[in-house]
């Protein structure tokens, strides 16, 4: 396919050139040929006319010559003497001598009108009768006293006859007639003179010719005869028409004319035949050599054209090969730029394009790789997020029973006096608290929550993080060196985010050290420094290579294997610290482990959270005369909270669903309404909304218990209405605090 294309391009160019050249050559040769042939014919015709004129002139001169030659013969003394003798033998002898002397073919001396006196022929075999008859005709005309010229056919030949009257002493005694053959010798003479062939014809019979026998076939003679038969009037000297004739393979022209002065009614013709075959042959030879030269020229031109086309298409073919290679993906090939013409420019452009393509392809591959990694990580994130939600659901379910366990355990702690029971209950309470912490940690880790800045002690965050990772660190054989400065100024920060940062950093260190699986050590240092709180987490792992060091905070950069890390951790950390006006930097030397240092600006001590003003504990939580409505679908919670409140002398009403609670609330006023958030039927939010419409002062006294605060809408609602809320599971203290807070707020 490819090759056919290439050759067809070359073939196209070559065939066009070939056709053009051949056509040019053919037209040229045709034009020249026709022109030259026409000219040849014209020249030949002209020559023939000239020859005709020469022939006629020659005949005339010849006739005059003969008249001059023979006019004086009768005056010769010999002839005079003999003619007076009137003796036949003597006369015949003399005539014989004259025939030899004058080189004529025959002489007839006639004295009477009926029979000749004496007649002599040069050739003894000649039949003299014919001569005598012809001589009589001439003699008739000569008897008048003038010499007469005439032509006649005698035997098979044409003769010129000259009649000379013989006058002796004023008396005409006879006529002397000389016969000269106008035949082969005359024809040859003329042929030598002009080069024309001569055919003499008498009554359609050839009498003399310079044409050879093979040339003069009977058909040719017939053709002559036909031409002569259709020729013009006998009076005309010659036929004007030049006639074409082909003898054998020769092209000839001929012209015909009559002999004048025929003595009898005979038709004597001469034909002049001129061949222009030699010119035609020369022309054909020239044509052949022209053709040969032409073909050679065409061949050479084709060869040159082919070379040229090859040369022109050579860069194209190279480009084609390279294009094919590039098409396969081999970008290493480059076209040789050999010239500065269009091909060279094309090659240069092609090279540039190849380079661009190569880099674009590289970029594309990188991008695809990045996208693939991103997709994997997003999948992982999604999975994690799903796990988060799952964890949230599970922990929520755990919250309610845990609340009951903790609450009742604490109640029992307060109420029991038995030392042994007390110790056991302490263990239950402690372990329940531990469960609560775990659940809280899980919740807070999986929870998406609004950034909430408050004054916090960074050490607390570090401890919380260490608490969460305690198990993994311990099982990973990692020693944690904890050097926390006790005099840290508080920072204004979101503790969850900060915790996430520290957990991320600790996790990274742990994963690195776990891979080492020997002598893993993490050192956490916190210190106050020039209005800043600095926390550094240092590990004794392999460290970070300097090339990776600059990239580790980039999103999705990870050195962990796929599935183990998202590459988002450090970038998240970076983003969090930026938001907090802090910094995070990484330091590492090869083999010297990695150190991440985060700084946070110390908080202005004046700034304080209003919630912090809420007293931690109201020692005099006295429920006497105070009415509290508890709305919860969980019997355990209802029982616990009622017991806790009854303990403090509150008047407690309970409702197991929203609708019942709403009825009770509307029926009688309460000091505090404690309401679960998530309930079948009316939810806590709906209860609040309905109550607010009818009893806004009651609605303001509502406190919500939540299993979780994951839901954004919940969070939104609580924030918008500035509603107090206690997360399950809660400790008794927390419970007391929130109730006390609510009472305190509505003390008036």
């Amino acid at each position: 396919m490819r090759h056919r294309m290439v050759y067809s391009f070359q073939a196209k160019v070559l065939s066009m050139i070939a056709v053009a050249m051949l056509a040019l050559m053919a037209v040229t040769i045709w034009v020249v040929n026709s022109h030259v042939i026409e000219q040849l014919e014209q020249t030949a015709a002209k020559n023939l006319r000239t020859s005709d004129a020469v022939f006629r002139n020659m005949q005339r001169d010849h006739a005059e010559n003969l008249l001059l030659r023979f006019g004086n013969v009768p005056n010769e003394p010999r002839f005079k003497a003999v003619s007076q003798l009137r003796e036949v033998n003597t006369m015949r002898f003399l005539l014989k001598e004259l025939v030899t002397e004058y080189e004529v073919d025959s002489i007839v001396f006639t004295t009477t009108e009926t029979a000749p006196f004496a007649s002599v022929a040069r050739r003894p075999e000649t039949d003299l009768r014919d001569f005598e008859i012809a001589a009589q005709k001439i003699a008739e005309r000569a008897r008048a006293g003038l010499t007469v010229y005439g032509t006649d056919q005698i035997g098979r030949n044409i003769y010129e006859l000259i009649g000379v009257p013989v006058v002796i002493s004023g008396q005409s005694i006879g006529v002397l007639v000389f016969a000269v053959e106008c035949g082969q010798s005359r024809a040859r003479e003329f042929h030598q003179l002009t080069g024309c062939d001569v055919v003499l014809m008498a009554n359609d019979v050839v009498t003399a010719t310079t044409l050879s026998d093979p040339e003069l076939k009977p058909t040719t003679v017939r053709e002559f005869a036909n031409t002569l038969a259709t020729a013009g009037s006998p009076e005309r000297g010659s036929i004007e028409d030049i006639n074409q004739l082909i003898i054998g393979r020769d092209h000839r022209l001929f012209v015909a004319g009559r002999f004048k002065s025929a003595t009898r009614n005979r038709v004597l013709w001469y034909l002049l035949v001129s061949s222009y075959e030699s010119e035609l042959t020369a022309l054909r030879t020239t044509q052949r050599s022209l053709l040969l030269i032409g073909f050679c020229g065409v061949t050479i031109a084709m060869l040159l054209a082919w070379l040229l086309v090859r040369r022109v298409t050579q860069p194209l073919r190279q480009l084609r090969d390279i294009s094919v290679a590039v098409g396969r993906g081999d970008f290493s090939r480059q076209a040789d730029v050999q010239s500065s013409d269009e091909c060279g420019q094309l090659a240069a452009a092609f090279n540039a394009m190849t380079l661009n393509l190569a880099s674009a392809r590289q970029e594309l591959e990188q991008t695809v790789e990045t996208l693939r990694t991103t997709r994997d990580r997003l999948t992982q994130s999604e999975k994690l997020s799903a796990i988060g939600e799952f964890v949230a659901g599970v922990t929520h379910e755990l919250n309610n029973p845990l609340t009951s366990v903790i609450g009742f355990a604490e109640l029992m702690q307060q109420s029991t006096t038995d030392e042994r029971h007390r110790r056991q209950i302490d263990i239950v309470a402690r372990e329940a608290h531990r469960c609560r912490k775990i659940v809280q940690s899980l919740l807070s880790f999986s929870r998406q929550h609004k950034i909430e800045r408050k004054l916090i002690n960074v050490n607390d965050v570090v401890d919380a993080a260490l608490d969460i990772l305690q198990y993994q660190l311990r099982t990973g054989n990692i020693q944690v060196e904890r050097r926390l400065s006790p005099n840290l100024p508080p920072v204004l920060a979101d503790d969850h985010q900060l915790q996430q940062v520290i957990i991320n950093l600790l996790n990274n260190a742990r994963q690195v050290l776990e891979d080492r699986s020997a002598n893993g050590r993490i050192r956490i240092v916190s210190q106050a420094q020039a209005g800043q709180v600095e926390v550094s987490i240092q590990d004794n792992g392999p460290g970070i290579s300097s090339e990776n060091l600059s990239k580790i905070f980039a999103p999705f950069f990870t050195t962990k294997e796929v599935g183990k890390g998202t590459g988002l951790g450090l970038s998240l950390c970076y983003g969090i610290l930026q938001e907090h006006g802090g910094t995070i930097t990484a330091h590492s030397g090869p083999g010297a482990g990695a150190t991440f240092v985060m700084t946070l600006p110390a908080a202005d001590p004046v700034v304080s959270d209003n919630r912090a003003t809420v007293p931690d504990r109201s020692p005099n939580l006295n429920g006497t005369g105070k009415r509290i409505l508890i709305i919860d679908d969980e019997d355990g919670i209802l029982a616990l909270t009622r017991d806790l409140l009854l303990e403090e002398q509150f008047t407690v009403e309970t409702a197991s669903d929203g609708a019942a609670g709403l009825r009770k609330a509307r029926a009688t006023p309460f000091d505090v309404i404690l309401c679960d958030w998530k309930m079948p039927g009316l939810t806590g939010g709906q209860v609040y909304e309905q109550l607010r419409r009818t009893h806004p002062e009651l609605a303001a006294r509502m406190v919500f218990m939540t299993g979780d605060v994951v839901s954004d809408t919940t969070r939104q609602f609580l924030d918008n209405n500035e509603r107090a809320c206690i997360a399950k599971p809660f400790s008794i203290d927390e419970f007391h605090n929130i109730i006390a807070g609510m009472l305190f707020a509505h003390q008036s």
């Binding site: 010999r78 003999v82 003798l85 003796e87």
Partner: protein, 221 residues
């Protein structure tokens, strides 16, 4: 026309007489012979007719001038020139002064014999079936023609003494009975310059003298 040796009959009775023999021939100049047509090396030969010398005949050798007393013309046999086949025969006829020659016409056509030569101008007229006679009484060369036949020609050489001979076909001649003495011997041909040589004829015996006639013998001029 081959001729036998002619000997003067009248002198056969002389006692003190010798015989002259020899060969006479014609020869051209060697260079001229081989030069080919018209390419003569000298102006001298420019107009000379090319002749086949080897074929020349009818040489006549005779003693120049009168010898002894005036000779008597022979009575018989008569010298004859025949006209036959439009030719005179013989072509060359040497005779002694005073000889009468007969001119018979043996052809069937008319002939004529005439001469314009100074020693004997004559015209016998056209005749047939007749014999005409003519006597030559002055020495010299007489060219005879026929008025109506241009090819007819003969020469009558009239000599002053009878000591002459016509060479045979091979050029040999012999003049017998020449009286002893010193003479001028002349070799003659109608177309070549004659040559004269001195000769001493002994009283008895032969004397030999050869002649070569030709264009070489042309006089200087």
């Amino acid at each position: 026309m081959m001729r036998a040796l002619f000997i003067g009959l009248l002198l056969s009775s002389f006692v003190n007489a010798g015989t002259i023999t020899g060969v006479v021939k014609g020869q051209g100049k060697a260079e001229a012979e081989s030069a080919g047509g018209g390419k003569y090396d000298s102006k001298k030969f420019k107009f000379a007719e090319r002749v086949d010398y080897s074929q020349l005949h009818d040489f006549v050798v005779y003693l120049d001038g009168p010898v002894g007393a005036k000779p008597e013309p022979p009575k018989a046999p008569l010298q004859v020139v025949v006209q036959k086949d439009a030719q005179f025969s013989p072509h060359i006829l040497p005779v002694v002064v005073g000889t009468t020659v007969e001119w018979p016409n043996n052809d069937e056509i008319f002939h004529n014999a005439f001469s314009m030569s100074e020693p004997k101008p004559f015209d016998l007229g056209l005749y047939k079936d007749k014999i005409k006679k003519l006597t030559f009484d002055k020495p010299g060369r007489i060219d005879v023609f026929c008025s109506i036949h241009s090819t007819m020609h003969c020469v009558i050489l009239v000599l002053e003494n009878p000591f002459y001979a016509v060479a045979d076909a091979r050029g040999r001649y012999a003049i017998a009975n020449v009286p002893a003495g010193t003479y001028k011997l002349k070799a003659w041909h109608e177309r070549l310059p004659a040559q004269t040589k001195d000769i001493v004829v002994p009283e008895n015996g032969d004397v030999k003298l050869d002649f070569t006639l030709g264009i070489t013998g042309l006089p200087e001029y």
